[in-house]
Symmetry: C2
Amino acid sequence: MAAELFREIDQCVTAPRGFRAGTTACGIKSDAGIKDLAILVSDVPCVAAGTFTTSATKAAPVMVCQERLKAGKAQAVIVNSGNANCATGAQGLQNAYRMTELVAEQFGLDKDLVLCSSTGIIGRQLPMEKIEAGVRNIELSSANGNDFSVAIMTTDTRPKRIALEFEIDDRTVRLGGVTKGSGMIYPNMATMLCYLTTDAAVEQEWLQHELRAAVADTFNMISVDGDMSTNDTCLIFANGLAGNNPLNARHPQAETFRQALNSMLRYLAREMARDGEGATKLMTVNVRGARSKADAVKAARSITLSPLWQCAVAGSDPNWGRITAALGASGCELDQNTYDIYIGDVQLLKAGLPLNYDQAQAKAAMLGDEVTITIDLHLGEGTATAWGCDLTHGYIDENTLYTR
Amino acid sequence: MAAELFREIDQCVTAPRGFRAGTTACGIKSDAGIKDLAILVSDVPCVAAGTFTTSATKAAPVMVCQERLKAGKAQAVIVNSGNANCATGAQGLQNAYRMTELVAEQFGLDKDLVLCSSTGIIGRQLPMEKIEAGVRNIELSSANGNDFSVAIMTTDTRPKRIALEFEIDDRTVRLGGVTKGSGMIYPNMATMLCYLTTDAAVEQEWLQHELRAAVADTFNMISVDGDMSTNDTCLIFANGLAGNNPLNARHPQAETFRQALNSMLRYLAREMARDGEGATKLMTVNVRGARSKADAVKAARSITLSPLWQCAVAGSDPNWGRITAALGASGCELDQNTYDIYIGDVQLLKAGLPLNYDQAQAKAAMLGDEVTITIDLHLGEGTATAWGCDLTHGYIDENTLYTR
């Protein structure tokens, strides 16, 4: 976090003015008492934007969000864990709409301003009676942001949440965020979910543009296993209660908001990669000197996605041949006589050939719980950073030993 | 194997007339006495063709093969295991050429007709003195085909080899083949290698075309971990000693040769997938009803490449939500209201919705050492088959616990 611009504060999504949350255990998950239903509501309608999975088998709630966000406005979201409402056909779509109606009825909102998300098992209809009872049971409070971050978890070992405070037009503006998951993070389940709130006033078109750009550089650059989910959703709600002049590309402090948003998403993305199934290490891959940004993205992602290199990271083995192979297979433009590879601060390759580096230093650079690989292709100005994790027995156990 | 057209015979690459092979342990691999050098020679110059890795970090021997095969002729190949001769720069390229010269000198061949392959550790120069002594030590015999199939192995648990016999122009024609590896199959190593021999007379252009087509449907449709190697090589040598009229697209028995070649490559591809690192099950994914063949290929490969589904296969868990997710993420055109999924003979989904199938039957269809998934997209005529394997602790162990 760039401490100069932002201050970290508590309660994540309910830190901005006018946002309240509530959670309950309504029995969707088989484990009794585990929270599986959460609602986030703004006191006033918000400018809203979203990004979603590009899967061709996307879940019903994703379709509902995409439909409703065409208007660029929203005021609430309801989230359940334990059931993905995916591969559920017309009934599933009807149930997703019904979830939003329940929230609208309970809290006196326009149903067209209510969004929904689901994460969990694919191919089962939602238990609507339990959800209906759950919604009636939920009480909203601005002190429940942290509870919200916990209720949306599936195999996450810890919640991922943050809130920042900064100034726009001499008003104190707050931005809060929570995420769960990382790629396909749960057996037969799915889904990265992310909810962002701000009390800044923001023009919708610019908000959508900035969200998409920030997601491209952060959430779209993390991977655990390369599996894309049917339910991935990232939503941002801006209710304007801070009273600033609406942010847009011409606002003199647009860059402050942009940097806060990017810092927040980068933090949350890294936390998701670090908490990947079975992960013991966070891997960061920096690529520079690529012919284009697209090439840098290909190269960086290819290395985080290589199971062989992920295994080397698990074993703290500076086995750079696997980086070379992943780089070669990535599809990025590459000259075998110009690329450099570093692990941590130790340069292993220069101009495509191994240096006589210190093996112990290279090993030492792999031993911590964060491993950083840097590639310089020396072909242009393209840069990118991707995050991933190691591949361990823990991943196999979580995903093999599952029983319905 | 289609028994009507072909008969299986012994000695793989030396089964066709006029091919001899020899192997030795020259000390490239650290384990003393393990064979690591192999040579295959035809008595007469051959029409030859090849397909290679598309990696941007391809190894020196791949460059040598690609250069020499421009002439469409070859007579021999030398293969070492234990060192990939990759990321070795100008010196590596010089060493690769030198390997071919050693074979030419030893066996009285034109060096421009000698090809070479390497598989093993990336980033080390070849021990040329050991290779020189090894070449001098090798004796060629038509009884050594099976030895050849063993000498090129790295982490393979068993050799993959086959030979077929069939008739062209009333001549008995033989076709032999060996492979090693499967994707990136060895720690810090690489490489699928395949060598095919035939005594059929074949026109070069048609041979190259047929090889490329057969590889596209077989070797390019297998995966273990999605990692492409720097050294992948598939070579075919046709020496014409069977005395048939040269095969080309207009030859009345072109289809016989095509089917023999395809059957052989499919057999070898399946054997490689079955022997993937840590694999306990062969996975076959059949896709039909796709809008195009390209779409079918995307869909089939996406399922074999999903680590989550590979873990489900390991656990014999008919967890079809992971198939749905992989299918959705594949990029193939898909209608959520039309696709069917089968595991073995058990239909799990019809028109995108789960059937009330028998859970025990679905589980039973996963229990054997071969699991077959069939997807019907009901959108067109495109079909494809991909092969893969499960993902187990064995894979993690082989690739994490490695030490240089």
